[in-house]
């Protein structure tokens, strides 16, 4: 196990399926250099085939004995989808009658092909969204599958990375990851995957998908930081659950399961009382048996709020202040940087002071005995250092 573990919690009741995260990730990392087809972050409609297509049935992960299961490498055309391009330039030299803006390859599948499709039939259909990034598992299937030991968990925060110097592009990792969240880069013949935006975190910015999430569904922090929302949602209230815990990889990305859905209708169009539009069996398949208790807790806390009572859980999920959704513990990273001899390097220069609090942030006592975080610790230190020189 890594010394500490960064985690993300995504609240599926707040996810609106807008894909801002997907595109934010794309422009941050995957719009170039052989990564074009990759979606380190994707949002898929459930029930549905997801991305890559039918990933849940594509093997990998561990069985009950802890043995790695067989897996397949998804097909570029049929499962990932070819990232088609367009003849944009031809509009300048084609007759308007003839010009058709069209993809350079016939689209047959893509990362969001079955957007909003779901299942059932009008008026009783249903669907919801699940955004997915690499789970940065405690027992990663990709890591176990790599014959070159080229995949590792960062000691300081548990982020799973591919050693790109060592990776030879054998692709066992792809088969081994039950979430199919590691990709082969054909341009460099190596595997690549979501890196939890560690270069952003080291500079004080949350991961692009989380920072830029306009539904405000994503919380980021360390699981051992008892003041972090991720700790509270995962351990204190136990309403955030890993996706497909049965895959055995112990993900560090957690989901608040969907509890909101309107009633179904009978054949006369009359709402049916007490029949769930979202079947529990499906949620149990996704989030394991713990989902029952999690939903019960959520419903109880929501009811409190409807009665006008206080609820810490609702306060957390509402997330009054966007900046409070992230606890990146910059002081901790400064320490690591010092240990690695990288202190003061460009890589750790803070660019945003709003999200950097954490377990290692000094606190100061305010006038009414309330404990506050010392603001901008890193900047202060920098100034102190300057003064020394």
């Amino acid at each position: 196990m890594a010394k500490r573990q960064l985690a993300m919690v995504m609240d599926l009741n707040k996810c609106i399926g807008c894909q801002t995260c997907t595109v934010a990730c794309k422009t941050q990392w995957t719009n170039r250099n052989g990564r074009e087809y990759m979606y380190w972050n994707n949002v898929e409609t459930h029930p549905g085939a997801g991305y890559p297509r039918n990933w849940m049935e594509a093997g990998g992960g561990f069985d009950d004995q802890g043995n790695l299961k067989d897996g397949i490498i998804p097909d570029m055309v049929m499962d990932y989808g070819v990232p088609w391009d367009y003849n944009h330039d031809e509009i300048f030299n084609s007759s308007a009658d003839e010009f058709v803006l069209s993809p350079n390859t016939d689209p047959v599948w893509g990362p969001n092909w079955d957007e909003d499709v779901g299942i059932g039939d009008w008026p009783n259909s249903y669907f919801f969204y699940i955004p997915r990034i690499c789970n940065h598992c405690s027992n990663p299937g990709c890591l176990a599958a790599c014959p070159r030991e080229a995949i590792f968990k960062r000691e300081q925060d548990g982020i799973v990375l591919v050693d790109l110097e060592r990776c030879q592009g054998y692709r066992y990792c792809i088969a081994g990851c039950p979430y199919k969240k590691i990709y082969f880069n054909p341009k460099i013949s190596k595997s690549e995957k979501c890196i939890f935006c560690f270069p952003r975190i080291e500079k004080g910015l949350p991961p692009a998908c989380a920072h830029q999430c306009v539904g405000r569904i994503r919380f980021v922090g360390f699981l051992d930081d008892e003041e972090s929302q991720v700790y509270k949602l995962v351990h204190k209230y136990k309403v955030a659950l890993p996706l497909r815990p049965d895959f055995g990889t112990q993900p560090n990305v957690y989901y608040v399961p969907p509890v909101l859905a309107p009633p179904k209708f009978d054949e006369n169009g009359k709402p049916i009382e007490n029949e769930q539009r979202l079947p529990m069996e499906y949620l149990e398949k996704l989030f394991g048996p713990e989902v029952h208790q999690a939903i019960k807790t959520l419903e109880e806390e929501m009811a409190k709020r409807e009665r006008g009572e206080e609820s810490e859980l609702m306060d957390i999920l509402i997330a009054y202040n966007h900046a409070d959704m992230f606890r990146l513990d910059h002081n901790y990273y400064e320490k690591i940087a010092a240990e690695q001899g990288l202190k003061g390097s460009e890589y750790f220069k803070i660019v945003d002071v709003r999200y950097i609090q954490g377990a290692n942030t000094k606190k100061v006592e305010g006038v009414f005995g309330k404990v506050y975080f010392e603001t901008q610790p890193a900047l202060k230190k920098e100034e102190e250092n300057k003064e020394h020189h």
Partner: protein, 969 residues
Amino acid sequence: MALSRRDFLKALGASGAGITLGGNAAFAKQDAIIVEDPRQSYPNTSYTENMYRGEFSYTYGEKEDHGTAYHCVNCQGNCAWDVWVNNGIITRENQVANYTPINPKIPDFNPRGCNKGVQHSHVTYEKDRILYPLKRVGKRGEGKWKRITWDEAITEIAQNIYETMLKKGPEGLFIHVGAGMLTEARGAAGKRLGTLLGAVRNYIASYVGDMFPGVTVVYGEGNIGCSYDFFYTTNVNIWWGQDPNKTRIPDAHFLWEGRYNGAKNIVITPEFNSTCIHADLWVPVKAGYDGFLAMAIINEIIQKKLYKPKFVKHFTDLPFLVRLDNKKLLRLEDIDPEKSPELDHEVFKIFEEKGEGKEFEPHATFFSWNTKTNKLTVMPGTEGAPVKTLRLKDVGWDIDPALEGEWEVTLKDGKKVKVTTVFELVKKEAQKFAAEKTWKLTGVHPTIVEQLAKEIALPKVVMISMGFTIGKYFNGMLAQRAIASIPGLVGRLGPYGGFNTENEWAISGMGKLSGFAGKYKQRFASGFVQEYVLGNMLKDVEKLYDDEDIRRATGLSKEEYLKKVKEDLDNFGNDEKWKENFHNKDGKPYWDTVETFLIFADSRFRRNKGATYREAFLKKAKFFAYVDWRMNSTAQYADIILPAKSMYEVWDLRTNPGYHRYANMAQPPQNLKPIGEAKSEWEICTMIVEKIQELAMKKYKETGDEKYIKIPDPTHSKTGYRELDKLVEEYTKGGHLRTDRDAVELALESVDQFKPNTIETIRKRGGFLQLNEKAGKTSPLYPDKPYNSFENNLYLFERFETLSGRLTYYVDHDRWIEAGAAVPTAKEPIRPKRYPFVLMTPHARWSIHSTYKESSLLQRLQRGVPYIMINPEIAEKKGIKDGDEIKVFNNLGEFYAMAKIYPSCPKDAIIIEHGWEPFYFKGNISHNTVNASPLNLLELSDAWGHLKFGGNWDGNQHAYETTVDIEKA
């Protein structure tokens, strides 16, 4: 074979080989690094780490170089972005996410943005970007272009404008900034040019079909409501004809945070959309029957006595008296106030005394029956009453108006007529729409109507939001009005919720950018009417709708209907008719005089419905110059194309609409490398006025004839002329307003609600300012509370901007009485019954109208080609599978698209998200081809109270009034 990591190592150990080198020795190229357990620690992390760190540093660039921006398109989101740049190239964008929270107990507005804005950096450099001025060298639309210099392009445009002004006067010009640039500073460039020259322009919201005329009927204005944080504080939110999860992406979080805070969300839409998925109740209304449902709710509220009598008496015209003989409101002009035996003369006299010099306007003064005195009593607060308050009890009067009853009133000539209340007539009309009766039409079960009535009436705070789809039906104006009529019955204004379309802030002083202190007037044309005329859209209307369709929707025969439309159109057109008929006759100004077009950011050949628009427009256009930053299906047919700067390259400011209380500023990144030869609209327009003046002065000097610099304009210029020798001086305010940056600085100086702010303070904060307390129109903008309209009316009894001074339920315009629409009502859709499916074209998640539809990044997250959503049962019947190409057709035409099997689509409709440019389709023929947009006679009506042509009273181009059939291609 399944082999765990542990087993693999064990196996190696047992064989006695390679154990000391680790499991990977066999694969190592060079020196093997020993890795004990990469879950715990790893010896070589820095190669990978530094590569990604380097990549991040590259995209981030230097903070000091960053720009700020928002995306000034017609999404109205208005979100503050930080634009990252490296080496003069824009790398990406990231939300600023720094809007100040207003209250620790209310979620903040961070990090506003969406899937489209987040990739503007990508499309900024796309290959459809217009880089240079282009001149058409082939036939229009032939795609043959020649790169020319800016001077050549500007000269040609200026020459055409000048010649038109000489030959036809200003009314020959059409200069218009379209929906692609709905922003205050930048959009003002083209508007200022148009105003200065006296050119025609038309209403955007009207021609895109996003107007709320039915709301204007009730409230006196269409854009009302709340900032989106208000939805966090409510008990019930109704989303009617709307999908905020898709179309209000930056604000949708308030719905679900509101849900956690105890608010219910109820969605009323035909399809099970992305907002429905987490709603507390979804109401699957049949497409086009929203008005029927609203009337059923009104009936339920009245019958179950869920309405609030005290509120209704103060704030609505429901107690006003209506003559039963002619269905007209009883006006002061009907009676003799001296002699009337029923009148409460005391109150009448007190009103005269309290009027502070104002006198009664007999045509706009109305009555109720006061139960306290049992007398006919003049009502305060109406347009024609000298007393403007809505208070019913004050020093000198105490009115408790009857809501129900029938009385006799003596007219001037001594004749007696029966009168009743508006409330009685509304009640009677609503009964026709009782839930049990309309159930089969609306598809909404009576128990739901019952529930909705309670959910709207009983809780403390309820907000009904209405989307743009409602106005896109032929009788959508009536549906809007019926829906907007609900909250007034149950006492909802200000803190108690009410009605939300799009709040707008009061921004005073912005007129300095586009206007000339009243010296020059715009030639405003109605959006939907002008497009109808320019595009000869009557042709498709005649073709698509038969006599039965038109009778069903209007009560008139096809012949009668078309005759009336023609009469209305005949009232307007040229300048003379405009002068004579404006607010005297029905119809709207449309200026068919235009022939020289200069258009900014307006893809009208994509947008307009039907198959005739482009051809008719091009026939009319002697000259057509188009300005945009990317090629679209309109630019394809232009004579001259000018390359505009895109959103990250300009200075700009934007405030409205009021979804939030911040105004955003765009500031280009430092050291940004120019993209082609793009220029800002301010620079372009400055160049155009300079050139026109140069040409005019030359001609004047040559001839000595003043007519070459003084263009007569008796109706729209205070001086009677457009003076071309002063153009540059006037346009640039003596040289102070030449660039986009000048415009931003002037706006910051001029607008009260922006104070105190400068470019520097805004930049420091992250590209935005917070509006001060003066921004609230009809309520105070409190520092720590979300905004909602009409608090001043509720607490201070201020009148509404309506004829009655109140929420209006009765319109006694002759045409409305004739159509049976004097009180809120609902009418059937006009769509033909001979085809089985309604074509629904809602706003998309993936584009703002057509903007961003061409993004490859976004298309890869869709299907890459236009697709149509079809219910699985229908698809099966038709033998259509997901991914098949299908033909969609009716007698107007046909188009082709990919089928997407979509369980949430109703069985009597198919859905294609709107905004696809025609060039996405085979043969350049889009989904608009099968559509027609008939003019609604009530939307054409004018000259009644607050229903007078302008920003609040135009009509809509309709989009949901066609039916089609489909088959596998």
